[in-house]
């Protein structure tokens, strides 16, 4: 009997898989994914994504949520330790602190204009680069920030395999607090005008192209787990990022075209996980995207 029920379950699950695949096929994609409300601008959600798959059990969901929580120390959240190039050459690794930089500059300044890759070790920074005014050397030239030539030990810090370095002191008292991540609610800080990061290293700041009207509203997405919804705002992201930071490499530009966009893949650092695991607020702040959920601190 047990074997029989197992077989039944297999059949049902495979049927569900088949249905899901059918639903995902390109011809069906538009009916399947999108409902868009016309009319004038409003704060109302505009997109609904529909999944045909089954939802997971509560126990599995709790496991998944526990996996997604950041448990690191707030002093070190957002720090990246670069060993790839410096350690083989007999230097201490470079400890880069995102939070001291994002106070002054938006993400796009470094990750688009200065060509820093989002993948660690991909940029291949050399000393010649820095001395010639590229990468770190674009600002760390003695004029804007301390000089790469003299202040070596500001960045090359002794750090063992388990990241046992002393984090930089960072005065966050004036910034709005949050209970997870690096302890600072950066979005709120920018909204209140406590920080005003520059959006370009060039003297004349060119405003980025205005968003098309339908992207000015926040989007509401359904999830595979029908207990919650996701709200996403282009407007909040474009304050920090360039279109090209996300499109089309992380998210393609087809409306609701990123079909495999789900929590499992995000936890592997894809999609939202490209930033919201290591630098942007971590997933402890559930309610920032899933408005119905409580934060897990």
């Amino acid at each position: 009997m047990r074997r029989f029920s197992g077989l039944m379950l297999t059949t049902v699950v495979l049927l569900a898989a088949g249905l899901f695949l059918y639903a995902c096929s390109a011809s069906k994609l538009n009916d399947f994914l999108m409902q868009r409300e016309g009319g004038e601008l409003s704060a109302e959600p505009v997109f609904q994504k529909k999944f045909a798959g089954t939802s997971m059990s509560r126990q599995q969901l709790v496991q998944l949520l526990d996996m997604s929580l950041d448990k690191s120390s707030p002093d070190k959240y957002g720090d990246i330790v670069f060993r790839e190039r410096s350690v083989p050459r007999g230097k201490f690794p470079v400890v880069f602190s995102h939070k001291t930089h994002r106070m002054r500059y938006t993400c796009r300044v470094c990750h688009v204009e200065l060509e820093f890759s989002m993948n660690q070790g991909d940029t291949g920074i050399t000393r010649e680069d820095n001395l010639d005014g590229r990468f770190c050397g674009a600002c760390h030239n003695g004029d804007i920030a301390f000089d790469v030539k003299s202040a070596c030990d500001s960045c090359h810090i002794k750090a063992g395999k388990d990241d046992d370095y002393t984090p930089k002191t960072f005065a966050s008292a004036s910034l709005p607090a949050q209970e997870y991540g690096d302890g600072v609610n950066w979005v709120e800080a920018m909204r209140r005008g406590v920080i005003a990061p520059r959006n370009s290293i060039y003297d004349e700041e060119v405003e980025s192209m205005p968003l098309p009207s339908h992207l000015e509203r926040s989007m509401l997405w359904t999830t595979r787990v029908p207990r919650t919804l996701v709200s996403f705002s282009h407007v909040e992201h474009i304050k920090w990022l360039d279109c090209a930071n996300c499109h089309p490499d992380i998210f393609n530009i087809e409306r609701m075209g990123t079909v495999s966009f789900d929590k499992e893949k995000i936890l592997y650092g894809m999609f939202c996980g490209s930033c919201h695991l290591t630098v942007a607020f971590p997933m402890n702040g559930c309610s920032r995207c899933h408005e119905q959920l409580k934060d897990r601190i």
Binding site: R2, R3, G6, L9, T10, V13, L14, A16, A17, F20, L21, C24, S25, A26, G53, T54, M56, S57, Q60, H111, V112, E113, E115, S117, M118, D132, R134, Y202, V206, S208, M209, P210, L211, P212, S213, H214, E216, D242, C243, A244, N245, H247, P248, D249, N252, I253, E254, G257, T258, V259, S260, D262, E264, K265, M270
Partner: protein, 262 residues
Amino acid sequence: MNYPPKQFLFFTLFFISALSPTVFFSETALAVAKSHQYGDIEMSQPGQNKAVLPVIFRHSTHRDKYTCRLCHVDLEFAQVAGGTGVIEDDNRDGRYCGACHNGKHAFEITLCAKCHPKNQTERQELDRQGKEDFFKAKKTLPPARYGNKIDWIMAENTGKIKLQDALPGITMPQQDMVVNRRDEPRTPSLAGLPGIIFSHSKHVVWNGCGMCHPEPYALEAGKTKMTMKEIISGKYCGRCHGTVAFPINDCSLCHSKPVTLK
């Protein structure tokens, strides 16, 4: 019999996600390329000689001296890597690369290692040299925000670079035709997007007519319809803008008019 359905569910979820028709990564990298490598094309080799590595062709060291159409129309270079099928005999006989690389206009093609590195060490040395030369030249040219981070159009306008449009004795100079130099306004399909201006005069300096007409653009105004998705995947404007000319990240260079469709 122990038969945990939970594992089966995980397996099936994995199975579904592996098979589902996803677009994880787009075909062309729109986003962030290193400025000194922007416009570099790796050429596969149609010949039998596997003892050398593929050629990396650098657009950035050629486009400061010659127009696009000189190579892509007159010298018959295809706009797709591997589409031309250049072989050594061609070059030695003065076709393709050999039209200039003959010791008179540029270094001779018998200096093989200048383009064909034998091993990774030679490749790295060529890359290092190329990078050094690029950034040395970049300091003298007007800056831009994306791509090579060089404003090539401004550099040509202000006479910082002089473009040669014909090779005396090898190609014919362009016919003296009446050329359309108008700015063509276009309306984007999405509401709230700034209007588009296509400038014939900026293109015609580099491309003449034959690079774009009649393929991919029909001569009739407004007849060729395109979407941003097609452009990102390398069609229409994306044939050049995204690989060699300024990439389409620089939205406001084309979407430069006030919003027309509200």
